[in-house]
Symmetry: C2
DNA sequence: GTTCACTATTTTGCATTCATTTTTTGTCAT
DNA sequence: ATGACAAAAAATGAATGCAAAATAGTGAAC
Protein backbone atom coordinates (compact mmCIF):
# COMPACT_ATOMS: atom_id res chain seq x y z
CA UNK A 1 0.00 0.00 0.00
CA UNK A 2 1.63 3.16 -1.16
CA UNK A 3 -0.91 5.82 -1.83
CA UNK A 4 -2.55 7.59 1.06
CA UNK A 5 -5.60 8.20 -1.07
CA UNK A 6 -7.95 5.31 -1.60
CA UNK A 7 -7.47 4.27 -5.19
CA UNK A 8 -10.77 3.60 -6.87
CA UNK A 9 -9.10 1.91 -9.79
CA UNK A 10 -10.22 4.62 -12.15
CA UNK A 11 -7.23 6.92 -12.59
CA UNK A 12 -9.17 10.07 -13.27
CA UNK A 13 -12.23 10.40 -11.10
CA UNK A 14 -13.18 13.89 -9.92
CA UNK A 15 -15.11 13.50 -6.65
CA UNK A 16 -17.60 16.20 -7.55
CA UNK A 17 -17.16 17.35 -11.12
CA UNK A 18 -19.87 19.87 -10.42
CA UNK A 19 -22.00 18.26 -7.78
CA UNK A 20 -23.08 21.34 -5.92
CA UNK A 21 -23.85 23.19 -9.15
CA UNK A 22 -21.78 26.04 -7.84
CA UNK A 23 -19.78 27.61 -10.59
CA UNK A 24 -16.55 29.42 -10.17
CA UNK A 25 -15.17 31.65 -12.85
CA UNK A 26 -11.58 30.65 -12.24
CA UNK A 27 -10.15 27.19 -12.22
CA UNK A 28 -8.36 28.06 -9.03
CA UNK A 29 -11.63 28.94 -7.33
CA UNK A 30 -13.28 25.73 -8.32
CA UNK A 31 -10.32 23.64 -7.27
CA UNK A 32 -10.28 25.46 -3.95
CA UNK A 33 -13.89 24.53 -3.27
CA UNK A 34 -13.48 20.96 -4.37
CA UNK A 35 -10.21 20.39 -2.58
CA UNK A 36 -11.54 21.89 0.62
CA UNK A 37 -14.49 19.53 0.56
CA UNK A 38 -12.19 16.68 -0.28
CA UNK A 39 -10.07 17.37 2.77
CA UNK A 40 -12.93 18.20 5.11
CA UNK A 41 -14.70 15.00 4.17
CA UNK A 42 -11.68 13.14 5.43
CA UNK A 43 -10.50 11.62 2.15
CA UNK A 44 -6.94 12.15 3.25
CA UNK A 45 -6.02 10.77 6.66
CA UNK A 46 -5.05 13.22 9.38
CA UNK A 47 -1.38 14.06 9.33
CA UNK A 48 -0.85 12.46 5.93
CA UNK A 49 0.96 14.28 3.15
CA UNK A 50 -1.14 15.84 0.45
CA UNK A 51 -0.14 14.20 -2.83
CA UNK A 52 0.03 17.01 -5.35
CA UNK A 53 0.59 14.92 -8.43
CA UNK A 54 -2.23 12.54 -7.64
CA UNK A 55 -4.70 15.31 -6.93
CA UNK A 56 -3.71 17.03 -10.17
CA UNK A 57 -4.53 13.90 -12.10
CA UNK A 58 -7.75 13.45 -10.19
CA UNK A 59 -8.93 16.98 -10.91
CA UNK A 60 -7.43 16.96 -14.38
CA UNK A 61 -5.45 20.15 -13.89
CA UNK A 62 -1.86 21.24 -13.64
CA UNK A 63 -0.04 21.87 -10.42
CA UNK A 64 -0.28 25.66 -10.52
CA UNK A 65 -3.94 26.13 -9.57
CA UNK A 66 -3.74 23.24 -7.15
CA UNK A 67 -0.80 24.75 -5.34
CA UNK A 68 -2.60 28.07 -5.15
CA UNK A 69 -5.51 26.31 -3.50
CA UNK A 70 -3.14 24.58 -1.09
CA UNK A 71 -1.75 27.91 0.04
CA UNK A 72 -5.26 29.16 0.78
CA UNK A 73 -6.21 26.02 2.67
CA UNK A 74 -3.04 26.39 4.69
CA UNK A 75 -4.01 29.97 5.55
CA UNK A 76 -7.40 28.68 6.61
CA UNK A 77 -5.71 26.23 8.94
CA UNK A 78 -6.97 23.08 7.28
CA UNK A 79 -3.57 21.91 6.17
CA UNK A 80 -0.03 22.92 7.02
CA UNK A 81 2.92 23.60 4.76
CA UNK A 82 6.25 21.97 5.46
CA UNK A 83 9.26 23.62 3.83
CA UNK A 84 10.39 21.59 0.83
CA UNK A 85 8.13 18.83 1.98
CA UNK A 86 4.78 19.84 0.62
CA UNK A 87 1.58 19.97 2.61
CA UNK A 88 0.03 17.69 5.16
CA UNK A 89 -3.45 17.52 6.56
CA UNK A 90 -3.42 19.33 9.82
CA UNK A 91 -3.70 17.13 12.84
CA UNK A 92 -5.94 18.58 15.49
CA UNK A 93 -4.82 17.81 19.01
CA UNK A 94 -7.04 18.17 22.03
CA UNK A 95 -5.80 21.68 22.69
CA UNK A 96 -6.54 22.73 19.11
CA UNK A 97 -10.08 21.43 19.45
CA UNK A 98 -10.61 23.24 22.71
CA UNK A 99 -9.43 26.45 21.11
CA UNK A 100 -11.58 25.99 18.04
CA UNK A 101 -14.68 25.21 20.09
CA UNK A 102 -14.10 28.29 22.19
CA UNK A 103 -13.75 30.51 19.16
CA UNK A 104 -16.93 29.01 17.73
CA UNK A 105 -18.56 29.68 21.08
CA UNK A 106 -17.45 33.29 20.88
CA UNK A 107 -18.79 33.69 17.36
CA UNK A 108 -22.14 32.12 18.16
CA UNK A 109 -22.36 34.16 21.30
CA UNK A 110 -21.78 37.25 19.18
CA UNK A 111 -24.30 36.08 16.62
CA UNK A 112 -26.94 35.74 19.29
CA UNK A 113 -26.19 39.18 20.64
CA UNK A 114 -26.44 40.76 17.21
CA UNK A 115 -29.51 38.74 16.28
CA UNK A 116 -31.40 40.22 19.22
CA UNK A 117 -31.03 43.63 17.63
CA UNK A 118 -32.73 42.90 14.34
CA UNK A 119 -34.36 39.48 14.34
CA UNK A 120 -37.97 39.42 13.18
CA UNK A 121 -40.82 37.48 14.73
CA UNK A 122 -41.01 35.44 11.56
CA UNK A 123 -37.41 34.39 11.90
CA UNK A 124 -37.95 33.40 15.51
CA UNK A 125 -40.98 31.38 14.46
CA UNK A 126 -38.85 29.60 11.88
CA UNK A 127 -36.27 28.74 14.51
CA UNK A 128 -39.02 27.51 16.84
CA UNK A 129 -40.19 25.31 14.02
CA UNK A 130 -36.73 23.84 13.70
CA UNK A 131 -36.67 23.37 17.44
CA UNK A 132 -39.87 21.31 17.41
CA UNK A 133 -38.53 19.32 14.51
CA UNK A 134 -35.39 18.67 16.48
CA UNK A 135 -37.48 17.66 19.47
CA UNK A 136 -39.21 15.11 17.27
CA UNK A 137 -35.88 13.63 16.26
CA UNK A 138 -34.88 13.61 19.91
CA UNK A 139 -37.97 11.60 20.85
CA UNK A 140 -37.37 9.18 18.00
CA UNK A 141 -33.70 8.84 18.91
CA UNK A 142 -32.90 9.92 15.35
CA UNK A 143 -29.41 11.19 15.88
CA UNK A 144 -28.76 12.18 12.31
CA UNK A 145 -31.96 14.20 11.99
CA UNK A 146 -31.34 15.73 15.38
CA UNK A 147 -27.87 16.73 14.37
CA UNK A 148 -29.03 18.34 11.16
CA UNK A 149 -31.86 20.28 12.79
CA UNK A 150 -29.47 21.40 15.50
CA UNK A 151 -27.01 22.64 12.95
CA UNK A 152 -29.71 24.49 11.07
CA UNK A 153 -30.81 26.24 14.25
CA UNK A 154 -27.33 27.50 14.89
CA UNK A 155 -26.98 28.57 11.29
CA UNK A 156 -30.26 30.43 11.51
CA UNK A 157 -29.03 32.36 14.52
CA UNK A 158 -25.86 33.29 12.67
CA UNK A 159 -27.92 34.32 9.66
CA UNK A 160 -30.16 36.46 11.86
CA UNK A 161 -27.12 38.41 12.96
CA UNK A 162 -27.07 39.94 9.47
CA UNK A 163 -23.32 40.09 9.31
CA UNK A 164 -21.74 38.51 6.27
CA UNK A 165 -18.25 38.80 7.70
CA UNK A 166 -19.32 36.89 10.77
CA UNK A 167 -21.08 34.31 8.65
CA UNK A 168 -17.97 33.69 6.59
CA UNK A 169 -15.74 33.41 9.63
CA UNK A 170 -18.23 31.08 11.28
CA UNK A 171 -18.35 28.84 8.21
CA UNK A 172 -14.58 28.80 8.12
CA UNK A 173 -14.16 27.61 11.68
CA UNK A 174 -17.06 25.21 11.37
CA UNK A 175 -15.27 23.60 8.44
CA UNK A 176 -12.18 22.98 10.50
CA UNK A 177 -13.95 20.94 13.13
CA UNK A 178 -16.58 19.43 10.88
CA UNK A 179 -14.88 16.06 10.74
CA UNK A 180 -14.48 15.90 14.49
CA UNK A 181 -18.03 17.04 15.11
CA UNK A 182 -19.37 14.15 13.11
CA UNK A 183 -17.12 11.57 14.68
CA UNK A 184 -17.94 12.93 18.12
CA UNK A 185 -21.42 11.53 18.19
CA UNK A 186 -21.80 12.52 21.76
CA UNK A 187 -25.47 11.78 21.37
CA UNK A 188 -24.85 8.33 22.77
CA UNK A 189 -24.85 10.05 26.10
CA UNK A 190 -28.55 10.41 26.73
CA UNK A 191 -27.96 12.80 29.56
CA UNK A 192 -26.10 15.30 27.44
CA UNK A 193 -28.80 15.01 24.80
CA UNK A 194 -31.53 16.00 27.23
CA UNK A 195 -29.35 18.75 28.59
CA UNK A 196 -28.83 20.16 25.11
CA UNK A 197 -32.59 20.23 24.56
CA UNK A 198 -33.07 22.25 27.73
CA UNK A 199 -30.32 24.64 26.70
CA UNK A 200 -31.95 25.13 23.33
CA UNK A 201 -35.20 26.03 25.05
CA UNK A 202 -33.36 28.62 27.09
CA UNK A 203 -31.84 29.98 23.89
CA UNK A 204 -35.24 30.35 22.30
CA UNK A 205 -36.61 32.00 25.41
CA UNK A 206 -33.86 34.59 25.51
CA UNK A 207 -34.21 35.15 21.80
CA UNK A 208 -37.95 35.82 22.12
CA UNK A 209 -37.24 38.39 24.80
CA UNK A 210 -34.40 39.86 22.75
CA UNK A 211 -32.25 39.58 25.84
CA UNK A 212 -28.94 40.15 24.10
CA UNK A 213 -26.34 39.67 26.79
CA UNK A 214 -28.28 36.88 28.42
CA UNK A 215 -28.50 35.04 25.12
CA UNK A 216 -24.83 35.67 24.61
CA UNK A 217 -24.07 33.95 27.92
CA UNK A 218 -26.36 31.03 27.23
CA UNK A 219 -24.93 30.42 23.80
CA UNK A 220 -21.40 30.53 25.08
CA UNK A 221 -22.17 28.07 27.83
CA UNK A 222 -24.06 25.84 25.42
CA UNK A 223 -21.04 25.61 23.14
CA UNK A 224 -18.79 25.09 26.13
CA UNK A 225 -20.87 22.09 27.11
CA UNK A 226 -20.69 20.79 23.57
CA UNK A 227 -16.97 21.22 23.76
CA UNK A 228 -16.76 19.24 26.97
CA UNK A 229 -18.82 16.44 25.44
CA UNK A 230 -16.70 16.35 22.29
CA UNK A 231 -13.39 16.37 24.15
CA UNK A 232 -14.61 13.75 26.58
CA UNK A 233 -15.58 11.61 23.62
CA UNK A 234 -12.13 12.06 22.13
CA UNK A 235 -10.50 10.85 25.33
CA UNK A 236 -12.28 7.48 25.20
CA UNK A 237 -12.26 7.02 21.43
CA UNK A 238 -14.32 3.94 20.67
CA UNK A 239 -16.07 1.19 22.56
CA UNK A 240 -13.85 -1.51 21.08
CA UNK A 241 -10.56 0.31 21.19
CA UNK A 242 -7.62 -2.05 21.70
CA UNK A 243 -5.03 -1.11 24.26
CA UNK A 244 -2.62 1.16 22.41
CA UNK A 245 0.98 0.26 23.38
CA UNK B 1 0.77 58.97 -15.12
CA UNK B 2 0.15 55.34 -15.65
CA UNK B 3 1.12 53.35 -12.61
CA UNK B 4 -1.21 53.16 -9.66
CA UNK B 5 1.74 52.67 -7.38
CA UNK B 6 3.65 55.77 -6.39
CA UNK B 7 6.87 55.58 -8.37
CA UNK B 8 9.84 56.45 -6.24
CA UNK B 9 12.06 56.78 -9.25
CA UNK B 10 14.05 53.74 -8.26
CA UNK B 11 12.66 50.86 -10.31
CA UNK B 12 13.54 48.07 -7.92
CA UNK B 13 12.96 48.99 -4.29
CA UNK B 14 11.77 46.26 -1.95
CA UNK B 15 9.83 47.92 0.86
CA UNK B 16 11.19 45.63 3.53
CA UNK B 17 13.90 43.35 2.20
CA UNK B 18 14.03 41.83 5.64
CA UNK B 19 13.11 44.64 7.95
CA UNK B 20 11.32 42.69 10.63
CA UNK B 21 14.05 40.06 10.67
CA UNK B 22 11.36 37.46 10.31
CA UNK B 23 12.52 34.66 8.09
CA UNK B 24 10.30 32.47 6.05
CA UNK B 25 11.50 29.23 4.63
CA UNK B 26 9.58 29.59 1.40
CA UNK B 27 9.67 32.47 -0.99
CA UNK B 28 5.91 32.35 -1.06
CA UNK B 29 5.70 32.82 2.69
CA UNK B 30 8.00 35.79 2.67
CA UNK B 31 6.19 37.42 -0.21
CA UNK B 32 2.90 36.86 1.59
CA UNK B 33 4.15 38.72 4.65
CA UNK B 34 5.68 41.53 2.68
CA UNK B 35 2.77 41.96 0.30
CA UNK B 36 0.29 41.96 3.15
CA UNK B 37 2.16 44.74 4.88
CA UNK B 38 2.46 46.57 1.62
CA UNK B 39 -1.28 46.52 1.13
CA UNK B 40 -2.21 47.16 4.76
CA UNK B 41 0.09 50.16 4.85
CA UNK B 42 -1.95 51.63 2.07
CA UNK B 43 0.69 51.67 -0.68
CA UNK B 44 -1.97 50.78 -3.19
CA UNK B 45 -5.04 53.00 -3.23
CA UNK B 46 -8.36 51.48 -2.25
CA UNK B 47 -10.16 49.90 -5.16
CA UNK B 48 -7.08 50.08 -7.40
CA UNK B 49 -5.89 47.10 -9.38
CA UNK B 50 -2.94 45.19 -8.01
CA UNK B 51 -0.21 45.36 -10.66
CA UNK B 52 1.33 41.90 -10.77
CA UNK B 53 4.17 42.67 -13.07
CA UNK B 54 5.26 45.72 -11.15
CA UNK B 55 5.16 43.95 -7.81
CA UNK B 56 7.17 41.09 -9.24
CA UNK B 57 9.86 43.48 -10.30
CA UNK B 58 9.73 45.23 -6.98
CA UNK B 59 10.15 42.04 -5.00
CA UNK B 60 12.50 40.56 -7.56
CA UNK B 61 10.54 37.36 -8.01
CA UNK B 62 8.48 35.64 -10.66
CA UNK B 63 4.72 35.75 -10.87
CA UNK B 64 4.10 32.32 -9.40
CA UNK B 65 4.82 33.01 -5.72
CA UNK B 66 3.24 36.44 -6.00
CA UNK B 67 0.03 35.02 -7.37
CA UNK B 68 -0.04 32.45 -4.61
CA UNK B 69 0.22 35.23 -2.09
CA UNK B 70 -2.57 37.12 -3.85
CA UNK B 71 -4.90 34.15 -3.51
CA UNK B 72 -4.23 34.02 0.22
CA UNK B 73 -4.76 37.74 0.68
CA UNK B 74 -8.03 37.40 -1.20
CA UNK B 75 -9.09 34.62 1.16
CA UNK B 76 -8.23 36.91 4.05
CA UNK B 77 -10.48 39.57 2.62
CA UNK B 78 -7.79 42.16 2.02
CA UNK B 79 -8.11 42.11 -1.74
CA UNK B 80 -10.63 40.70 -4.15
CA UNK B 81 -10.16 38.67 -7.29
CA UNK B 82 -11.88 39.67 -10.49
CA UNK B 83 -12.23 36.94 -13.13
CA UNK B 84 -9.69 37.50 -15.88
CA UNK B 85 -9.02 40.90 -14.47
CA UNK B 86 -6.58 40.24 -11.68
CA UNK B 87 -6.91 41.56 -8.17
CA UNK B 88 -7.94 44.85 -6.68
CA UNK B 89 -7.56 46.24 -3.19
CA UNK B 90 -10.79 45.68 -1.41
CA UNK B 91 -12.80 48.78 -0.84
CA UNK B 92 -14.43 48.86 2.57
CA UNK B 93 -17.81 50.49 2.60
CA UNK B 94 -19.53 51.66 5.73
CA UNK B 95 -21.41 48.40 6.06
CA UNK B 96 -18.19 46.38 5.77
CA UNK B 97 -16.65 48.44 8.55
CA UNK B 98 -19.65 47.99 10.79
CA UNK B 99 -19.47 44.26 10.25
CA UNK B 100 -15.76 44.13 10.90
CA UNK B 101 -16.01 46.17 14.06
CA UNK B 102 -18.77 43.92 15.33
CA UNK B 103 -16.74 40.81 14.69
CA UNK B 104 -13.79 42.40 16.46
CA UNK B 105 -16.16 43.22 19.30
CA UNK B 106 -17.23 39.61 19.46
CA UNK B 107 -13.66 38.37 19.52
CA UNK B 108 -12.57 40.79 22.22
CA UNK B 109 -15.66 40.00 24.18
CA UNK B 110 -14.73 36.35 23.95
CA UNK B 111 -11.13 37.10 24.86
CA UNK B 112 -12.27 38.87 28.02
CA UNK B 113 -14.50 36.00 28.97
CA UNK B 114 -11.74 33.47 28.51
CA UNK B 115 -9.16 35.66 30.18
CA UNK B 116 -11.22 35.67 33.37
CA UNK B 117 -10.73 31.94 33.62
CA UNK B 118 -6.97 31.87 33.70
CA UNK B 119 -5.52 35.35 34.01
CA UNK B 120 -2.91 35.78 36.73
CA UNK B 121 -2.63 38.68 39.14
CA UNK B 122 0.67 39.58 37.51
CA UNK B 123 -0.97 39.87 34.12
CA UNK B 124 -3.67 42.09 35.55
CA UNK B 125 -1.03 44.24 37.16
CA UNK B 126 0.71 44.58 33.80
CA UNK B 127 -2.53 45.69 32.19
CA UNK B 128 -3.12 48.16 35.01
CA UNK B 129 0.34 49.49 34.33
CA UNK B 130 -0.57 50.02 30.70
CA UNK B 131 -3.77 51.67 31.81
CA UNK B 132 -1.91 54.23 33.93
CA UNK B 133 0.47 54.82 31.08
CA UNK B 134 -2.47 55.41 28.80
CA UNK B 135 -3.96 57.75 31.36
CA UNK B 136 -0.75 59.77 31.27
CA UNK B 137 -0.99 60.08 27.50
CA UNK B 138 -4.60 61.09 27.91
CA UNK B 139 -3.67 63.90 30.28
CA UNK B 140 -0.90 65.08 27.98
CA UNK B 141 -3.22 64.90 24.96
CA UNK B 142 -0.68 62.57 23.37
CA UNK B 143 -2.92 60.83 20.90
CA UNK B 144 -0.29 58.59 19.39
CA UNK B 145 0.93 57.31 22.74
CA UNK B 146 -2.63 56.90 23.90
CA UNK B 147 -3.46 54.90 20.83
CA UNK B 148 -0.51 52.59 21.24
CA UNK B 149 -1.13 51.96 24.93
CA UNK B 150 -4.76 51.32 24.15
CA UNK B 151 -3.88 48.80 21.51
CA UNK B 152 -1.43 47.07 23.83
CA UNK B 153 -4.12 46.74 26.48
CA UNK B 154 -6.46 45.05 24.07
CA UNK B 155 -3.69 42.80 22.85
CA UNK B 156 -2.87 41.87 26.42
CA UNK B 157 -6.43 40.82 27.04
CA UNK B 158 -6.40 38.68 23.92
CA UNK B 159 -3.09 37.18 25.00
CA UNK B 160 -4.50 36.43 28.45
CA UNK B 161 -7.22 34.36 26.80
CA UNK B 162 -4.50 31.78 26.05
CA UNK B 163 -6.03 30.79 22.76
CA UNK B 164 -3.72 30.89 19.77
CA UNK B 165 -6.56 30.35 17.33
CA UNK B 166 -8.36 33.35 18.70
CA UNK B 167 -5.18 35.38 18.65
CA UNK B 168 -4.60 34.60 14.99
CA UNK B 169 -8.18 35.40 14.01
CA UNK B 170 -8.02 38.62 15.99
CA UNK B 171 -4.82 39.69 14.27
CA UNK B 172 -6.37 38.87 10.93
CA UNK B 173 -9.42 41.06 11.42
CA UNK B 174 -7.36 43.78 13.04
CA UNK B 175 -5.25 43.89 9.89
CA UNK B 176 -8.26 44.47 7.72
CA UNK B 177 -9.33 47.61 9.51
CA UNK B 178 -5.90 48.81 10.48
CA UNK B 179 -5.81 51.47 7.83
CA UNK B 180 -9.21 52.80 8.79
CA UNK B 181 -8.41 52.71 12.48
CA UNK B 182 -5.47 54.98 11.98
CA UNK B 183 -7.25 57.39 9.73
CA UNK B 184 -10.19 57.47 12.11
CA UNK B 185 -8.40 59.45 14.74
CA UNK B 186 -11.60 59.86 16.65
CA UNK B 187 -9.53 61.16 19.51
CA UNK B 188 -10.20 64.68 18.31
CA UNK B 189 -13.51 64.27 20.02
CA UNK B 190 -12.57 64.93 23.63
CA UNK B 191 -15.83 63.58 24.89
CA UNK B 192 -15.33 60.16 23.36
CA UNK B 193 -11.82 60.15 24.73
CA UNK B 194 -12.96 60.63 28.29
CA UNK B 195 -15.69 58.07 27.77
CA UNK B 196 -13.17 55.51 26.55
CA UNK B 197 -11.10 56.07 29.67
CA UNK B 198 -14.08 55.37 31.89
CA UNK B 199 -14.88 52.24 29.91
CA UNK B 200 -11.34 51.02 30.32
CA UNK B 201 -11.64 51.45 34.06
CA UNK B 202 -14.78 49.36 34.04
CA UNK B 203 -12.93 46.71 32.02
CA UNK B 204 -10.13 46.57 34.57
CA UNK B 205 -12.61 46.39 37.41
CA UNK B 206 -14.47 43.45 35.88
CA UNK B 207 -11.18 41.77 35.07
CA UNK B 208 -9.98 42.05 38.67
CA UNK B 209 -13.18 40.45 39.85
CA UNK B 210 -12.94 37.81 37.12
CA UNK B 211 -16.52 38.65 36.24
CA UNK B 212 -16.54 36.84 32.92
CA UNK B 213 -19.93 37.60 31.43
CA UNK B 214 -19.91 41.13 32.79
CA UNK B 215 -16.53 41.77 31.21
CA UNK B 216 -17.82 40.25 28.03
CA UNK B 217 -20.66 42.76 27.95
CA UNK B 218 -18.45 45.71 28.75
CA UNK B 219 -15.92 44.81 26.09
CA UNK B 220 -18.59 44.38 23.48
CA UNK B 221 -20.14 47.73 24.31
CA UNK B 222 -16.74 49.37 24.38
CA UNK B 223 -16.01 48.18 20.86
CA UNK B 224 -19.49 49.18 19.78
CA UNK B 225 -18.78 52.71 20.94
CA UNK B 226 -15.49 52.69 19.12
CA UNK B 227 -17.35 51.57 16.05
CA UNK B 228 -19.81 54.40 16.35
CA UNK B 229 -16.99 56.92 16.68
CA UNK B 230 -15.14 55.48 13.69
CA UNK B 231 -18.20 55.38 11.46
CA UNK B 232 -19.24 58.87 12.50
CA UNK B 233 -15.76 60.04 11.61
CA UNK B 234 -16.05 58.38 8.22
CA UNK B 235 -19.26 60.23 7.49
CA UNK B 236 -17.58 63.64 7.85
CA UNK B 237 -14.23 62.74 6.32
CA UNK B 238 -11.92 65.69 6.84
CA UNK B 239 -12.12 69.24 8.09
CA UNK B 240 -11.18 70.72 4.73
CA UNK B 241 -13.07 68.37 2.49
CA UNK B 242 -14.21 70.01 -0.73
CA UNK B 243 -17.74 69.39 -1.88
CA UNK B 244 -17.68 66.05 -3.65
CA UNK B 245 -19.84 66.33 -6.81
C1' DG C 1 -15.98 66.89 -32.25
C1' DT C 2 -17.85 62.69 -30.71
C1' DT C 3 -18.75 57.84 -31.25
C1' DC C 4 -18.11 53.46 -32.90
C1' DA C 5 -15.39 49.72 -34.89
C1' DC C 6 -11.28 47.43 -35.39
C1' DT C 7 -6.39 46.34 -34.38
C1' DA C 8 -2.28 46.19 -31.34
C1' DT C 9 -0.53 45.73 -26.83
C1' DT C 10 -0.76 44.31 -22.30
C1' DT C 11 -2.44 41.39 -18.76
C1' DT C 12 -4.19 37.32 -16.94
C1' DG C 13 -4.69 32.25 -16.08
C1' DC C 14 -2.86 28.11 -16.48
C1' DA C 15 0.49 24.62 -18.27
C1' DT C 16 5.04 23.44 -18.70
C1' DT C 17 9.82 23.40 -17.62
C1' DC C 18 13.90 23.59 -14.66
C1' DA C 19 16.87 23.50 -10.60
C1' DT C 20 16.90 21.67 -5.75
C1' DT C 21 15.79 19.10 -2.19
C1' DT C 22 13.96 15.06 -0.31
C1' DT C 23 12.90 10.30 -0.42
C1' DT C 24 13.45 5.91 -2.00
C1' DT C 25 16.03 2.24 -3.83
C1' DG C 26 20.09 -0.49 -4.47
C1' DT C 27 24.58 -2.09 -3.19
C1' DC C 28 28.01 -3.51 -0.34
C1' DA C 29 30.47 -4.25 3.92
C1' DT C 30 29.96 -5.74 8.53
C1' DA D 1 20.30 -10.24 8.40
C1' DT D 2 21.50 -5.48 9.40
C1' DG D 3 23.35 -1.04 8.76
C1' DA D 4 25.79 2.59 6.10
C1' DC D 5 26.48 4.72 2.11
C1' DA D 6 25.61 6.06 -2.79
C1' DA D 7 22.86 6.47 -6.70
C1' DA D 8 18.35 6.90 -8.74
C1' DA D 9 13.85 8.44 -8.56
C1' DA D 10 10.41 11.43 -7.24
C1' DA D 11 8.73 15.48 -5.03
C1' DT D 12 8.79 20.25 -4.29
C1' DG D 13 9.40 25.35 -5.25
C1' DA D 14 9.87 28.70 -8.46
C1' DA D 15 10.58 30.49 -13.37
C1' DT D 16 9.15 30.56 -17.91
C1' DG D 17 6.02 29.90 -21.93
C1' DC D 18 1.67 30.23 -24.22
C1' DA D 19 -3.27 30.86 -25.40
C1' DA D 20 -7.22 33.60 -24.17
C1' DA D 21 -9.09 37.68 -22.43
C1' DA D 22 -9.05 42.52 -21.46
C1' DT D 23 -7.30 47.11 -22.21
C1' DA D 24 -5.41 50.74 -24.93
C1' DG D 25 -4.79 52.80 -29.20
C1' DT D 26 -6.02 54.20 -33.89
C1' DG D 27 -8.81 55.71 -37.35
C1' DA D 28 -13.15 56.06 -39.98
C1' DA D 29 -17.91 57.51 -40.05
C1' DC D 30 -21.36 60.53 -38.69
Amino acid sequence: MKSTIPDTGVPIAPPAANGGDRQEASLHGEILLRLRDYVVEGNIPEGARVPERQLCEMFGISRTPLREALKVLAAEGLIELLPNRGARVRQLGQRDLEELFDVMAGLESLAGRLACETITDAEITAIEQLHYEMYGHYLHRDMHGYFQANQRIHESIVAAARNETLKTAYANFAGRIRRVRYSANFARKRQRWAEAMREHEAILDALRRRAASELSDILFQHLRNKRAAAIEHLAEPEENAPASP
